[in-house]
């Protein structure tokens, strides 16, 4: 992927850039590596302490439930990459709303219609978020928060007469293909699509440019506002997909099923090595960070740590990672 190609180009030009090579290699240090080092380290720790078979089971669970972290992380990553200050706090409420809509529509009109309705709802929320930010010039953090309040209310009105998702969808969501959970495959496919979108398309390059310097991007002919608009719509769509899958796996949509993903979506993006000030995203880092956080949580659970200790460990982990990564990113 991208970091590799960058590495090759450096070694190619090594001859004429002798003095700065070390500095340049340091700059190119792939930020996503650390999350994988962490995840594998924790994995080995589980294998050593609890035995290989238990470790295998834990990793398999991680591939089901850690996948939701990946999905919300991807949504948040796109928004954060579009520049300083951009953040989507409506992810949890979109998850709840999409789950509700999907379950209802699927009950009445079939699975495909449910998917379409839920995704459309997510995209519409994304568009509404963007309009609040653009037209009313409300800072993204408050605009998405306000809209999430409204979405919560809409979701509450939809929650009457709870019913379970169709059996076919539920069995599919909990099924495996060649030992790999279906959900992990879906997330993998989506990740590949987003990686291609980010690194190989005009939209993705434009997004990076907008994130690094919107004015320079505008002068270079990038549609800054169009890019931002698409990013919020994509984020809403991915959050909606997460909501549908979450409802499918857990046998029904609940109003608070997205709550824990608000902070986690940001944590996963940051630990994964995406630049917080925007302009540089890493899809693979989101995977590493999700697995890292999920496995750490599993270890703490297995050790019998209570909710308080787990929360403290989570927080310290985030702070340590950011402090260790330090100064590389420009602040705002």
């Amino acid at each position: 992927m991208n970091p590799q190609s960058e590495l090759q180009s450096t070694t190619g030009s090594a001859a004429d850039a002798q003095p700065t090579l070390a500095a340049r290699l340091k700059m190119l240090r792939a930020p996503w590596v650390w999350s994988f080092v962490g995840a594998i380290g924790v994995g080995i720790l589980i294998a050593v302490v609890f035995g290989i078979s238990i470790a295998g089971n834990v990793v398999l669970t991680a591939l089901v439930f850690g996948v939701f972290m990946v999905l919300v992380g991807l949504a948040q990553m796109l928004v954060i990459t579009s520049g300083p200050g951009n953040i989507d706090l409506s992810v949890p409420s979109v998850i709840a709303l999409a789950g509700m809509i999907a379950v209802h529509v699927m009950g009445a009109y079939g699975i495909a219609a449910g998917f379409v309705a839920a995704l459309a709802a997510g995209v519409v929320v994304g568009l509404a978020n963007y309009l609040l930010i653009r037209v009313l010039r409300i800072p993204p953090i408050i605009a998405t928060l306000s809209s999430s309040f409204i979405i919560q209310s809409v979701a509450i009105t939809q929650s009457s007469g709870m019913n379970a998702p169709p059996v076919a969808l539920e069995t599919f969501a909990n099924g495996h293909l060649l030992g790999v959970p279906h959900l992990a495959l879906i997330a993998l496919a989506l990740s590949v699509v987003i990686a291609v979108l980010l690194h190989l398309t005009v939209f993705g390059r434009g997004l990076s440019a907008v994130g690094q310097n919107p004015r320079a991007a505008w002068l270079a002919g990038v549609g800054v506002e169009a890019t931002r608009c698409k990013v919020y719509m994509l984020s809403g769509g991915i959050a909606a997909l997460t909501g549908v899958l979450l409802a499918a796996v857990s046998g029904g949509a609940t109003l608070d099923m997205g709550v824990e993903y608000m902070l986690i979506s940001i944590a996963v993006v940051v630990i994964g090595g995406t630049q917080v000030t925007g302009g540089r995203a890493t899809v693979i880092g989101v995977w590493g960070a999700s697995m890292f956080l999920f496995l750490t949580n599993a270890v703490l659970n297995a050790l019998g740590a209570g909710a308080g200790v787990r929360s403290i460990a989570y927080g310290l982990l985030i702070i340590v990672v950011v402090v260790a990564a330090g100064g590389r990113s420009a602040r705002y």
Binding site: G85, I87, L89, L132, L136, R137, I138, P139, I141, I142, A143, L145, S146, S147, S148, F149, I150, Q152, S153, V154, I156, T157, L263, I266, A267, V270, V276, T277, G306, A307, G308, V309, R310, S311, I312, A313, Y314, G315, L316, L317, I318, I319, V322, V323, A325, G326, G327, S329, R331, Y332
Partner: protein, 320 residues
């Protein structure tokens, strides 16, 4: 630049500054007038006291957020921090007052240390405080696994103290705003720390320490956070680790509503206090409207959007 252009700019700046100062007052009036029309009884000592019952802790939390925003940072942990200090107040301060006070001082020092760390390592505050919010919540859960505890007696009597003539929350808010305004806007130390947000490079060239400024502002935020937690505890008389989580975003919204900006050290203490009061009143306003409980949360969002867009419309008018 010709003198006439310079004065033109100057006049416009002054007008913008004046508009910015008027906005929070205007939005408060816009919220208050319909309430007084719908419920004339609220325009009295007890009515205002009830309407603004929870204003004091929100005002404190807003000033904590304001201190952090002054230096171009954002504090996503203030809600969790306020909950933690309320939990400390409800457990340690009742059982072993000395230990409680040491714990609260420790919290403030931790906040200052985090500020220094953010400057020292040049890391984004939003992420560090996000991590911190997990830490504070975890500590609060360890201290008080289930909602409960009790408020120290002196705290309860302080918060329920009846001031003569004007309802207590208003008196408190004015006093807090006055102290905050004098400290941040009028004292030389205040000007210095505001410069840290306005022009960090100029500041470090002048030989003032950025690490020190950030640590001071975060420490001040910690002190206001402790005040917020304790005053909230005095009002609710019991604590819970999730008591004040919504304060994080409420405080950010109040600062912005009060005319503060995310960048540039441009903040207004009076504006932020008015913003906090506006949002408190807005929450009480919903109770008068008789809307269904399903839509209570949604209406909060609508009011937030309406009030903030009001601010933008007025600013745009001022620019023209």
């Amino acid at each position: 630049m010709t003198p006439s252009v310079a004065t033109g700019l100057n006049v416009r700046n002054v007008r913008n500054a004046r508009l910015r100062a008027l906005l929070p007052v205007f939005s408060l009036v816009v919220i208050l007038v319909p309430i007084f029309i719908l419920q004339p009884a609220t325009f009295s000592y007890f009515g205002l006291g009830l309407l603004l019952n929870l204003a004091v802790p929100i005002v404190f939390a807003t000033l904590a957020q304001l201190a952090v925003i002054t230096v171009n940072d954002l504090d996503l942990s203030i809600g969790a921090f306020v909950s933690l200090t309320a939990c400390i107040g409800a457990t340690l301060c009742v059982r072993e007052p000395w230990l409680g006070i040491v714990a609260l001082i420790g919290c403030v020092l931790a906040y200052a240390a985090i500020g220094a760390l953010i400057e020292f390592r040049q890391i984004p505050s939003i992420v560090v405080t996000l991590g911190l919010s997990f830490v504070w919540t975890g500590l609060a859960v360890l201290l008080l696994p289930s909602p409960g505890g009790s408020s120290p007696l002196w705290l309860g009597s302080l918060m329920t103290y009846q001031t003569p003539l004007i309802a207590a929350p208003i008196v408190w808010s004015v006093v807090i705003a006055l102290v905050g305004h004098l400290l941040l806007m009028r004292s030389s130390a205040g000007v210095r720390v505001r410069a840290a947000g306005g022009n960090p490079r100029a500041m470090s060239r002048f030989g003032w320490s950025m690490v020190k400024s950030r640590a001071i502002l975060y420490g001040v935020a910690g002190i206001f956070g402790v005040c917020s937690g304790l005053s909230l505890l005095g009002l609710t008389t019991s604590a819970d680790p999730n008591l004040a989580l919504r304060y994080t975003l409420l405080s950010i919204a109040s600062v912005i509503l009060g005319g503060g900006e995310f960048v540039g050290g441009r903040v207004s203490v009076w504006g932020a206090v008015l913003g906090a009061i506006t949002l408190t009143v807005a929450a009480s306003f919903l109770a008068f409207l008789n809307i269904s409980p399903d839509w209570q949360v949604g209406m909060q969002g609508v009011i937030l959007i309406a009030v903030l867009s009001l601010r933008v419309l007025l600013q745009r008018g001022g620019r023209r």
